[in-house]
Amino acid sequence: MSPGLLEGLLMLPALLLLALVFLWPLGAMAWLSGQASSVLTGLTALPNGGANWLRLLGDGRFWQDAGQTLRFALVSVVLELLLGLGLALLLQRPGRGRAWLRTLTLLPWALPTTVMALGWRWIYNDPFGPLNALLGLLGIGPYGFLSNPATSWLFTVLADVWKTTPFVALLLLAGLQSIPLELRESLELEGAGRWQRLRHLTLPLLLPYLSLALLFRLTQALGVFDLVQVLTGGGPAGSTESLALYAYLNAMRFLDFGYSATVVMGTFVLLLLAVSLALLLWRRSQPHRRPA
């Protein structure tokens, strides 16, 4: 027996389960996207050529949702990275009660999304919610945070930023802690200011952490579901509907499984494109660094 093979066997049970949970579903969806399987076929699957895919290409709602999902993902991820970086720098600073501060700021991330989405639904309530009460004190409003198709998505972003920034901050905090203190001190001795230290020392060394956080948050945000389903249900006027929610509605409400699978596979393709694009841009911006 060659070395490593035996230990390789140790991986088998886990890999089997992974195949069951990841590979098999993807295969099943790819197959189902080529079938008519809806309430009109009595929920049985009948091959319908590429009809589902043709419908997807011409489905304005799919492309609208794709745009909206992308918009949500990009804006929330950028905000989360910026705020997360700030928060991480703050959490790193020594001071009284630092451990408590870390714990307390982490709380929003630990709570179930559905729980906090309900909380935000009340905060945004028009006209009784706390945010409108605040506006009322300032003599403005009430404002329909969740009833204006032009702006409602911003408030889904805000809720997501609230919940996920601590997670990003945590990842970046780890990065900050991996930077040797001596490096910082030597820069300080050379007379580098705070901003220069950040630019020339912290950010470059933090880059792997930033890119991992970016990659992770981007893919998760492109699959946003819980938040939107509970906070807005996709409204108003479908302006906050995400691709995942559209796939869910097709299956569980419209009982069109073939098309739901097609939406899922379409989303998967877009996801792969987005991630490859992000990786490509990242590589290009790093001509001298090989991706580790």
């Binding site: 309430v39 009109l40 409204g235 108003p236 419209f254």
Partner: protein, 450 residues
């Protein structure tokens, strides 16, 4: 990104005797465990052939469970051979639908009888989840019901559902602000505007404008009130789809424009674009609005709520534009028999009992539910106890049923999106309705060719 840790090779050095048996055993055990988990979890529906009362499993939204609890006690006394197992579903209709569909999809026939919304009938029947009721209850099962209550129970030539209540959309008005309700939509606008200008009330008219099923109900009433149709059933019946939409007609555009205009004029608050029944009721019950469109339940809530408007509320059928026929959306629940139920006969007996005139009479007295049987509306004692009955009967006689097609969920969804976009974001009524019509046609065409 993931660092290759140095110095890991130690464990692999040749000659380094690995206890192979131990590793293999571990792998085998874990793999078996996985398979066993799959196997254990796979429960087989073993029907215990035990003697004793036959269990009939029922799924209802929570308020109906509470309302019928005392009645079910009576039922058990008179039917010792049956045992009802009732599950409380969620309050919200769409959450209930998700639950019902989730349960039915998992496929183990978790219930024998389900309380089904009027818009689900065609979809559930087409999905093969229901058992026709006419062989069990007779072809004349609905004989003696108010005409409106008979709608929405048949599809494809079968009876799928026995209506449990006769709810329709109603218009609530404030008796402390006016002597009599308006006669049509124009008058409503005028009264509401005047009251607002005089500073007697903040808002004129509140209704359900959120992107959800309630908006489709409002829209159906307004379409009808402006002489337009959402759905034209086709006589020859293109088998699965069974009709065409007609949303871009001049009347339909006037209808949508009217809703948009209410908000533009400030008669309706912008907030209705995100309001469901409860939010509108909250505004109206707090004395913030002169008129409200809602279901019969709102009456009991206001009268029992003890808020500022309690005792100052009147109810009338929903209004139409001057010279048009009025009609309120039918929002009834009804009992369906789930396909694959092991006890269809017993389940049908339960359905018959739960929808019988005697049972409904009790529910009218205790809960104020709108009955479906004509005879109950003629009962002087009930009329005395429930002053709303006279209005409800009028409304039920001209009730409007939402499109009866398995594709209703999609049709409703896309209409909601267009109308909600119109009232919340702007755009023009003709464009929104043309888009709704275009998308509906695409959907229906794709369905009838597949």
């Amino acid at each position: 990104m993931l660092r290759q840790a140095p110095g890991h090779a130690a464990g692999n050095r040749p000659g380094n005797r690995q206890p192979q048996a131990g590793v293999l055993l571990l792998v085998a055990v874990l793999t078996l465990l996985l398979i066993a988990l799959l196997g254990i979890a796979q429960r087989h529906g073993v029907a215990p052939a035990a003697a004793g009362p036959v269990p009939v499993r029922l799924l209802m939204p929570a308020p109906f469970v509470d309302a019928t609890a005392p009645l079910l006690k009576t039922f058990h006394r008179s039917h010792p051979n049956l045992r009802l197992e009732v599950t409380r579903g969620p309050l919200d209709t769409e959450a209930m639908s998700d639950l019902a569909i989730g349960a039915l999809l998992l496929g183990e026939t978790p219930y024998d009888v389900m309380l089904v919304d009027v818009t689900w009938t065609a979809r559930y029947a087409a999905a093969g989840w229901l058992t026709p009721l006419e062989p069990l209850l007779g072809n004349d099962a609905l004989e003696g019901m108010v005409p409106g209550a008979r709608l929405g129970n048949h599809f494809d030539g079968h009876l799928w559902r026995m209506p449990f209540n006769g709810d329709t959309g109603l218009l609530y008005w404030r008796t402390d602000l006016m002597d009599k309700p308006p006669a049509d939509t124009a008058e409503l606008e005028e009264i509401a505007g005047r009251l607002q200008r005089e500073g007697l009330v903040r808002w004129g008219y509140v209704w359900q404008g959120r992107q959800y099923e309630g908006l489709s109900c409002v829209m159906l009433e307004v379409l009808n009130g402006f002489g337009a149709y959402w759905w034209r059933p086709s006589a020859e019946g293109v088998a699965p789809v069974a009709g065409q939409t007609d949303l871009a007609s001049p009347g339909a555009i006037r209808a949508a424009a009217w809703l948009q205009g209410l908000i533009r004029q400030g008669i309706t608050p912008q907030a209705v674009a995100n309001a469901a029944e409860n939010e509108t009721l909250q505004l109206f019950a707090a004395g913030e609005a002169a008129f409200m469109r809602n279901w019969p339940y709102a009456w009991r809530e206001i009268e029992n709520g003890g808020g500022p408007v309690t005792g100052h509320v009147g109810v009338t059928p929903v209004l139409a534009a001057p010279g048009q026929q009025t009609g309120g959306t039918l929002g009834t629940w009804g009992f369906s028999l789930i396909a694959g139920s092991p006890h269809p006969r017993e389940a049908a007996e339960v359905i018959r009992w739960l929808t019988a005139p005697d049972t409904q009479r009790q529910l009218v007295m205790a809960q104020g539910y709108a009955p479906t049987w004509s005879a109950l509306y003629d009962d002087p004692e009930l009329a005395r106890l429930q002053p709303l009955l006279a209005v409800q009967r009028r409304a039920l006689e001209e009730a409007l049923v939402r499109p009866l097609t398995p594709l209703y969920a999609q049709l409703s969804d896309l209409l909601q999106r267009q109308v909600n976009g119109l009232i919340s974001g702007g755009g023009s009524a003709p464009a929104a309705m043309a888009e709704a019509q275009r998308r509906s046609s695409v959907l229906l065409d794709a369905a009838s060719t597949s």
